[in-house]
Amino acid sequence: MLLDNLPHTDPGDPVLTTPGRFLLWIGRRQKKLLALGVVWGVVWMVGQALIPGALGAGIQAISKDDEAKALQWAGVVLVLGVVQAGAGLVRHRYAVANWVTAGTRVQQLLIRRAAHLGADLPKQVATGEVVAASANDVERIGNALDILPRMVGAIIAFFVVAAILVAMDPTLGIIVLVGVPLLSLAVAPLVRPLERREREQRVHLGMTQELAADTVAGLRVLRGIGGEDLFLARFQAESKKVQAAAVRTAHIRALLDAMQVFLPGLFVVIVTWLGARLALQGELTVGQLVAFYGYTAFLVLPLRTVTEAAHKFTAARVASARVITVMTLERMFDEGDEAAAPAPTSSAGEITDPQTGLVVSPGKLTAIVTDDPDASEVLIDRLGRYRDSNVSLDGTPVEELPLLTVRERVLVQDKDPMILSGAAEDLFDIPRTGRVAVADALASASALDVVDALPDGLATDLPERGRSLSGGQRQRLALARSLVADPEILILDEPTSAVDAHTEARIGLALRDARAGRTTVVFTTSPLLLEHVDVVAFLKDGRIQATGQHRQLLRENPDYRWTVTRGEDA
């Protein structure tokens, strides 16, 4: 059955040189579907094309008082109609299959690219851009593949009708054969300005959508503080611009539509006029006159189909260009080759950073204290290799390690870790060593009560960004997730900043046991955590100024004391 083999097991490796080539590549992946679509498109269109001839023959029979023949031709009309109906359906089914097959492929390509780019993607494009690519552009590319077979059918039907007309009357036939393509050319000068105005309209539309989406995203702020009217007025102004631009576009489109009535209509008038004169001379029967009229009127359909196809191909090219933009984004730095990488000499988990002078002993719980958020952000990104870094792991510079190896060995938990939508238990469906059970991790992160509070426990569906949870609840679930992953080196950025003091104290106690024998680095200034770490490194002015026990530093280092107690010297 159609659509049975979707989604694709592998969407393939697309050609991304030009939008046209990309579309061609997609078309090639579904050659068979397109070919079948073409076959049925032709049968359908030609079936339709032959009906005027049968009607003309019927009228001719009637005019000659030939009842039996008239009934016979009525039967032919019926058969042609049924054939056309059947073929029309099959054609439609292939059109849908073509649309969906292409659309699915693009969706799958996009998600694979997004998954590959990971942290680099949000840095390079706005989410909206990818959403636009996955929603609107996929539709436009699908539309192009949907109309392609229909267009081929239209072109072939055109030639079949032309041949019939030439056979009936060469002069009239040639007039039709030459005239119709000329007519389709006649509207061409309108297409370019139409496209330009459509582009303008889309720019305004994009702006309106962006404003609307932005307003909605900040709705809590607006409802809490105010300013709804301000933003509404701004949106309304932009919406009016879309309206004006759309009406401007409509002026050209209306002209185009009118021309599509006038030009073929003019043709029907001319053919009827010439045909009637020929009939007067006895060179054409009245049945043939009716057929000529019908054929000429029918030719409007293939003409329209081709125009429509031209539109859709243009839209698909624009859409492809946008998809290509996303698809050609690259990782910010070289990923390295896993196979060619030096075998790890040891994997104890020692970190050395010549830039700050930081040394993290393997298997220990180390805290880094600093009062400069920018400095800690940079250091975290360097430790996790989210930016250029001369940090070494067990003596090997991270820059020489393949990126995947670094990700596998070093896990960075951000300050505001993202909880993805889906069942709560899916949070723990991540690459993990299997040494840490989910229940144990939840207990260590003091997150058991978070799960208890969920209506269906771990099976509860969480909304995007875990919005139904408080910041503290999110932090504790995220910590449990990191513990389950059980990486060789775990870097935690303010893991308990939104957790209340009672719970923070509990987490501080449990963290060292949970990570026993593994290297853990926690960025924090909270005494409740610092109490329980093996060693504290104090980062100031870009260098590690002091290293030691929390209490020892508290006594000996005034700068440290000031940072940890936030200036409230005891």
């Binding site: 109906a85 359906l89 404003l211 702020v221 409509a250 002026h251 006029w273 990700r407 469906d429 209340d500």
Partner: protein, 594 residues
């Protein structure tokens, strides 16, 4: 073939989300829209009628020609005259088509503008509690995808159907006028069309709605992957995200297949029903002509009219399909109008800044209260810290004190007026909930500040920025207050965004602030001036701080300990420390005095 999922299964996932309108309310809304634009609509019908009437002339001319030529009574002059009439009709049709299309676009665009503006107008007035629960994701989809789909329906489907309706009516009238007896042939088609259409449209709306929502889920999954890029990379979730999208695609394809099945029944039945009258007119016409009951002109014209009638009827049925899609989007767009507004009374005004909670009980779900009888009094200028373990109900209490939710039983009064009875716009003049969320809107920095006080002068804006220590970096920006910020524009650092949020509070100037997770708002390692910025904002206001950090509690005049939805301790820091309860134990461990 059955739908891929049963109703019960799929409806479950929509629970707790924003409502989708019923077909009836959609219809009512459309009628209202049309009524609002009645003049334009009537003009449109008139223009299209003239265009359609002109299109009827062709077959009539040809019928005459066939009759006269066959009867031998035609000459060149007659043929020329007929062609001229045909040409004139065509010119009229062309001119009126263009005119009608322009008017149609004007009407369509005005309706679309109304729709999206109505939608956003409603969205920005949603009760804050509803926004809090539904999240913004669904709303964003409605603002983008649904508006897009509806635009398509209104730009194309509605005018096509309107024109087709007018044309079909006039062509059929012409058929009846030409040869009433031949018009009877359509009786073959009508029952088939009626039965099949009924069957189809009984299933289609439901199926298309699910096809669309399952398609939206595919896109939402991709968007989330982009948004959470860093998390996806850190936890090596790439493969899992790919699998998730693939299975979302599979679900969507299931619905695609079902709707395709519906059309597989529908389309051919309809097409065959078109060809029946055509064959019938030809057969019946032939017989009646030979019998001498109709003229050749009548038969010819009737055949051509019957054929002409197929197109508009087809357009109506096919675009009806698109109209369904549009209708589904519309149901989601106007669904936001179905969100009930809490009953409020704008005439009351709090007489003072006193805040009293009396035996407050509240829960998000029936039968599961989070707060079990909380009472507290807050005087103007108070500094209250609410502490307690996670899940004790601190944040919930904060939201109630900020007027976001109404207590289930008990009362929360401000200056003698129940907070919940005041409209949101009034509540926030008195009290603001400050959370860790700090959205920077697309627009100038000025716009971002003005939202808090739309009539503020630039001097006031600079004062507000100055009071939170943000004037310096604002001045350093390329265009100062007029710098474009927000997604895709000049990016503010988190600290700057936080100061912006604080400056908004200074401008909004509520006398009471409820700080929830205020320490998350202020990065614990943040430069000290951020804390000074906050101190400047708190100056002279009543502050209720939900404290995750004991330092905040230490600074407060009064500390309230909440455990299991009840207040268990209350007093000054020193009192509580000397009382030796839960708070004292915690304080000691924090201060390292054991």
């Amino acid at each position: 073939m059955k739908p891929p999922e049963s109703l019960a299964q799929t409806e479950k996932s929509t629970e707790g989300k924003l409502p989708v309108s019923s077909p009836e309310s959609v219809r009512r809304y459309v009628v209202t829209l049309l009524r609002r634009n009645r003049g334009l609509f009537i003009a449109l019908v008139g223009l299209n009628s003239v265009a359609a009437a002109a299109s009827i002339v062709g077959p009539w001319v040809l019928g005459g020609l066939v009759e006269k030529i066959e009867g031998g009574s035609a000459d060149y002059a007659y043929v020329n005259e007929a062609a001229l009439i045909f040409l004139c009709a065509l010119l009229v049709q062309t001119a009126f088509t263009r005119w009608a299309r322009i008017r149609g676009a004007v009407l369509g665009e005005s309706i679309l503008a109304d729709l999206r503006e109505d939608f956003l107008t409603r969205v920005v007035a949603l009760p804050p509690g509803v926004v809090e629960r539904a999240g913004t994701g669904d709303l964003v989809t409605r603002t983008t995808t649904d508006v897009d789909r509806l635009s398509w329906a209104v730009r194309l489907a509605v005018p096509e159907i309107a024109i087709a309706l007018v044309t079909a009516t006039l062509v059929f009238a012409a058929l009846v006028f030409t040869a009433p007896i031949l018009a009877v042939s359509w009786l073959f088609a009508v029952p088939i069309i009626a039965v099949v259409t009924r069957w189809y449209f009984k299933r289609a709306p439901y199926a298309y709605r699910h096809e669309m929502s399952s398609y939206a889920a595919v896109n939402a999954g991709i968007a989330e992957t982009v948004d959470a890029g860093r998390t996806v990379e850190a936890y090596r979730l790439g493969d899992a995200r790919v699998r998730r999208t693939d299975s979302a695609i599979k679900r969507w394809i299931g619905w695609e297949r079902y709707t395709l099945y519906l059309r597989t029944i529908f389309f051919p039945s309809i097409e065959i029903s078109y060809v029946l009258p055509l064959a019938a007119v030809l057969g019946l016409g032939g017989w009646l002509y030979i019998d001498g009951q109709v003229s050749l002109a009548q038969v010819t014209a009737a055949v051509l009219y019957t054929q002409m009638l197929i197109e508009p009827v087809d357009i109506i049925l096919m675009w009806y399909d698109e109209l369904q899609v549009g209708q589904a989007s519309m149901a989601r767009l106007i669904g936001v109008h179905d969100v009930p507004d809490p009953v409020t009374d704008g005439s009351q005004e709090p007489q003072s800044a006193d805040l009293h909670a009396n035996d407050v009980r509240y829960g998000y779900r029936e039968g599961r209260d989070v707060l079990h009888g909380v009472s507290m009094d807050i005087e103007p200028g108070d500094r209250v810290a609410i502490v307690g373990p996670s899940g004790a109900g601190k944040s919930t209490l904060g939201r109630l004190l900020a007027g976001l939710h109404a207590p289930r039983t008990g009362t929360i009064d401000m200056g003698g007026v129940a907070l919940a009875s005041l409209p949101t716009e009034k509540v926030r003049r008195h009290v603001a909930l400050v959370t860790q969320e700090h959205h920077v809107f697309i627009g100038t920095l000025r716009d971002n500040l003005l939202l808090a006080r739309p009539d503020a002068s630039d001097t006031q804006l600079w004062e507000a920025l100055g009071s939170v220590d943000a004037a310096e970096w604002t001045q350093a920006l390329p265009q100062g207050l007029l710098t474009e910020v927000g997604t895709g524009r000049h990016k503010l650092t988190p600290a700057q965004a936080q100061q912006l949020a604080l400056a908004r509070l200074v401008l909004a100037d509520p006398h009471t602030l409820v700080l929830d997770e205020a320490t998350s708002l202020l990065d614990p390692r943040a430069a000290r001036h951020l804390e000074q910025s906050l101190a400047a904002v708190l100056e002279g206001r009543t502050v209720i701080a939900i404290a995750h950090r004991l330092m905040t509690a230490h600074d407060a005049k009064r500390v309230v300990v909440v455990e299991d939805g009840k207040i268990t301790e209350s007093g000054s820091h020193d009192e509580l420390v000397s009382a030796g309860g839960a708070y004292a134990a915690l304080w000691r461990s924090w201060r390292d005095e054991d």
